[in-house]
């Protein structure tokens, strides 16, 4: 069995004449914290959609926990232990924060079709409340998700991903639109994740990305151009030219 949590081989996604993801090879080890960086349009979110099963690759293959999942959809991959957040918050706006988290909890643990309420519901609700606490939303549990502020919606996005107790967590720009204090809490939250959770994060905020990540994959025009530690990335001239700028030298 593979030691890698996630392996992508020659992953390509074309939209007509545009190649959004170009022959990407990616190997993520157990417990690794990996950041995927790149300017807008580099193909990061397209890559995430392929890895999460929200989109189908034009070519290439994906292995998740040693199983080829290229033909599987998002639902099956989630049940295997993959959770994700979206670049733009996708919440269940008509339901409360607690119900959002509750549905995320039973989405992987079973009971999705239950027409009777029982002790398993209470367990899932407890888990929802516990995760709400971890993302600082305890006092918003009864609020409809559609009425939350942008920052709160981002926090709930992360909560939805965490409540499923994932083995692989894909975070797509989780700090986007957050205040400084909120970004600090997010960083602390991600650093506090236990090692049995593998983390793959797309983030434009370098402070968050390079603090959390142990390795960085840099993308440009759909392709991976360099991979290395945060220090190596910081000192890479091509990365500077394409993305970081002199302020980060």
């Amino acid at each position: 069995m593979s030691e890698h949590v996630l392996q992508a081989r020659g992953l390509t996604r074309r939209f007509g004449g545009v190649v959004a993801v170009r022959e990407v090879d990616l190997e993520i080890g157990q417990g690794e914290r990996r950041a995927v960086l790149g300017p807008n349009g580099a193909g990061k979110s397209s890559l995430f959609n392929l890895l999460a099963g929200a989109d189908t690759p034009t070519a290439g293959s994906i292995e998740l926990f040693g199983t080829d999942v290229t033909a599987l959809g998002a639902r099956q991959r989630t049940r295997m232990g993959l959770s994700r957040t979206f670049q733009t918050s996708r919440l269940l706006g008509g339901l409360t924060v607690e119900d959002n988290l509750y549905l995320a909890a039973i989405g992987v643990s079973g009971g999705r079709f239950r027409l009777l309420r029982g002790s398993r519901d209470a367990e899932a609700r407890k888990r929802a409340v516990r995760v709400a606490e971890s993302v600082g939303m305890t006092d918003r549990l009864g609020e409809p998700a559609g009425e939350l502020s942008h920052g709160e919606q981002r926090q709930l996005e992360i909560g939805l991903a965490l409540v499923a107790e994932p083995r692989l967590l894909l975070l797509d720009e989780p700090a986007a639109g957050l205040s400084r204090a909120e970004r600090q809490l997010l960083t602390a939250l991600l650093l506090g994740l236990e090692r049995d959770v593998t983390l793959l994060i797309i983030e434009h905020d370098m402070d968050v990305a390079l603090t959390v990540a142990e390795r960085v994959t840099m993308m440009y025009e759909g392709a991976v151009i360099v991979e290395g530690t945060p220090a190596e990335i910081r000192s890479n001239q091509r990365v500077h030219d394409l993305y970081l700028g002199r302020a980060h030298v």
């Binding site: 929200a54 920052g151 926090q155 506090g192």
Partner: protein, 354 residues
Amino acid sequence: MNEGWMSRALSLGGRGALAVVLAVVALVPVLCSTFFTSQVGLTSLSLGIVAVSLTFLSGYGGMVSLAQTALFGVAGLITAKLTVDAGWNGWVAALVGVLAATAVGVLFGAISSGSVGIYFLVITLAFAEITYFFFAAVPTFGAHEGINQAKPPAPLGDPVLHPSAMYYFMLVVSVLVFLGLRYVSRTAFGLALQGVRDDPVRMAALGYNVRLHRTLGFALAAPVAGIAGVLSTWSNTRISAGSISLAVAILVLTAAVIGGLNKLAGAWVGAFVYTICDTYMRGWTDRFATYLGVVFLVIVLVSPGGIVGVLTSAGTWLRRRVGAGDVPGAGTSGRPGPLAEPATPVPVTGGQSA
């Protein structure tokens, strides 16, 4: 403290108003004429039940279906056929009719659940038309003539001359349907259905089979429409293909929208308002459809949530006014985000097995 007292008074007032409405509805056979009980009461209740099957699908599943009258017709026509021509016991025939409607509902749901929005509406319209033309063409089910003398089981009496028993039976069924659907909406299945309504992509990412959930939601609404078909057949003692024509499908949608497409109770409110207009306005004018269209337009423009939406908004506004009157600044946002004051993060454990 004053605010709490006022809120309690408002809440009590709301419940009191609801109790008064229920009491009036329960007293209709006692206070009103046989004509009103039969023509307005029975029609409103059966129309309300078929409309609530649409309201459930629309409000909780995001599926505006025009096929509910088809399911209504399947149950009604099969029940009538089995009782009138085959001499079956009315209750057994009704059970078979409702089960048949459920089976057809599963089929309709499985086919249409892959579509959303206008495409879903058009597919269900096609189902409604196919069912209508099927029953209009098949002599076994009376074709356009329909099936007459489809009387209800003996305990329900004569729905035309003595409609009280039938009225109370339909009222009890309405309350049970309402409570049942409200209960379902709060279960895991019901919440997931609402999640699918809000964002199917997110639900798939949470591990849900979106299409299956939509299919099962449709299947759950089917017996409700079927029950309405049986009750309508019994209360009219007849049913024909004309009872499930496109005009009737649109009528059901109109009643649901007038009452409020997102609130279960709105189905009966809309059905009652429609039936009152239908019963009394036709006698005053031959332009009934035009005036009904104007009423429909006004309601949709003033309150997309229908009559129940107006009442709910008024209640919310009143509660906010009461709160704002007692608490300076209440009702305004300006509340800091939950992360403005950093809390100690709780480590989250992973390790879900594959």
